[in-house]
Amino acid sequence: MSKIIIGRYIPGDSLVYKMDPRGKLLITILFILTIFLANNPITYAIITLFCFLAIIATGLKARVFWNGVKPLIGLIFFTSLLQLFFMTGGKVFWHWWIFSISSYGIVNAIYIFVRFTLIILISTVMTVTTMPLEIADAMEWLLKPLKVVKVPVDKIALVISIALRFVPTLFDETLKIMNAQRSRGADFNDGGLIKRAKAIAPILIPLFIHSLETAIDLSTAMESRGYRGSEGRTKYRVLNWSKYDLISLAYFVLLVGLLLIFRTH
């Protein structure tokens, strides 16, 4: 049976793995925001350097990160090309109909390209070093302030955790149903669009029913073990801040400092 790993978590124990998921999530979000502070070649170079240092700190192969960027490479190029052809200003090198290539366009296309790639790379650093459930826990922590305005943060977190937990289960079930229907002569790879769309019903309907049954079973099991909402519950996975979070915070502060010094005002 093929077991998929949800998300792209790869086990390891380098520096980045030792960080608290909350720290990682927070720094990742801040890093992405910080990218927009960069506005000249020096600042872009600095932030790229910092991003690559973070990648090196994960201790994972370059391939992992390339795999993260690969699915979006088309989108990145497309956005860059839009910048390249439609941005006007500065010296115009080439002009035809509504398209033009100008010095502003070139520079902006490169910036967009770098920005985009950095955002993906830094999110990959987080997703490959943090287990999905840890990310869910970190999100819960991050959303905590919303409790003040009566957002049921614990419940949202529970929903996310359960959803993540059942992804592999549903995947196995889908595979089993597909195999059962194939054994009854169903063909999922053949025929035109309509025929293929029709072929989905024999998978989807049993899958829906299975999900509902699983949900009912799970809720019964939770109730019979005394679950009464998430008020005042202790955690199984306790998150602990460590010195590595301080290190990364210092790293981040240094980055912001450098960017503030070198950016054009």
Binding site: I177, N179, Q181, S183, R184, G185, P202, I209
Partner: protein, 266 residues
């Protein structure tokens, strides 16, 4: 580092026989079963079944005839039900295999009856039925294609003893009518009672392929491989002072053996 699901498994089975496939959870029984109709293909080696020759190169096209001839009933097959009515669900297979609506309907009605469902359920939604009835509908949904080879993965799991027994009888009748039945099971009494031939799997390897009498011969060996003995032979071995010519596997053999002992003693 890929773990092999099946390793060096090699065997031949006779047409029209009743084969039991046993082994504890995770031994590769279900994986093996999925090779029978090319849902899985061997990464090396070949399978010859129902006139098909399957290798790692076998494509996914043109497998319909194979899947018609080798019917697979998965564990808890009721999870494959999806149609609005029981009748439509059973018709799904035959229609996929190219039968006309009318023929499919006739066949579906016949097999629904064969699996012991009364005519009033056929227009119901399969989801209104009881668990046992759903199981029957699902099994009818595979048997309706009248495959040469019928493979069943624990068809009796979760059913009450009587329903199980009825179910087994349907498969035995099917085999007697000239088809091959391959049964994946944990129930050694079923193995002893029905099987002509037994395949024992462990850790993806075939560790024994023999007649039931031989498979259940060695108590030590069974223990070592976490397999149970049939109830009758357990009963026989707990009888003190009785001698059995052959290890009795079924109740009938047990009764005969006891009779012989008693009469011999008089």
């Amino acid at each position: 580092m890929e773990k092999k699901g099946l390793d060096n498994v090699s065997f031949e089975l006779l047409d029209n026989s009743f084969i039991a496939l046993i082994g504890h959870t995770g031994s590769g029984k279900s994986t093996l079963m999925q090779h029978f109709n090319a849902l899985l293909k061997p990464s090396s080696g070949t399978i010859d079944i129902a006139g098909y020759h399957i290798t790692s190169q076998t494509g996914n096209k043109n497998l319909k005839k194979l899947r018609k001839e080798v019917g697979l009933v998965f564990q808890f097959p009721e999870s494959q039900l999806f149609e609005n009515t029981v009748l439509d669900d059973v018709k799904f297979g035959p229609k996929n295999f190219g039968m006309s609506d009318k023929e499919a309907e006739a066949k579906a009605k016949k097999w629904l009856e064969q699996v012991g469902l009364s005519t009033d359920v056929i227009s119901k939604s399969p989801f209104e039925l009881s668990g046992g009835q759903m199981r029957r509908v699902a099994i009818a949904g595979v048997m309706v294609n009248e495959p040469q080879i019928l493979c069943l993965d624990e068809p009796g799991a979760g059913l009450d003893p009587r329903a199980r027994e009825e179910m087994m009888q349907i498969f035995v009748n099917y085999q007697k009518a000239g088809h091959t039945v391959i049964l994946v099971t944990h129930n050694m009494d079923d193995v002893a009672k029905y099987a002509d031939d037994v395949l024992v799997m462990e850790h993806g390897k075939l560790i024994k392929h023999d007649k039931p009498q031989k498979v259940f011969e060695n108590e030590e060996w069974l223990k070592k491989h976490y397999l149970d003995e049939p109830t009758s032979s357990l009963f026989a071995s707990s009888l003190k002072g009785f001698r059995f010519k052959e290890n009795p596997l079924t109740i009938k053999e047990l009764v005969d053996g006891i009779k012989e002992n008693v009469q011999g003693g008089v």
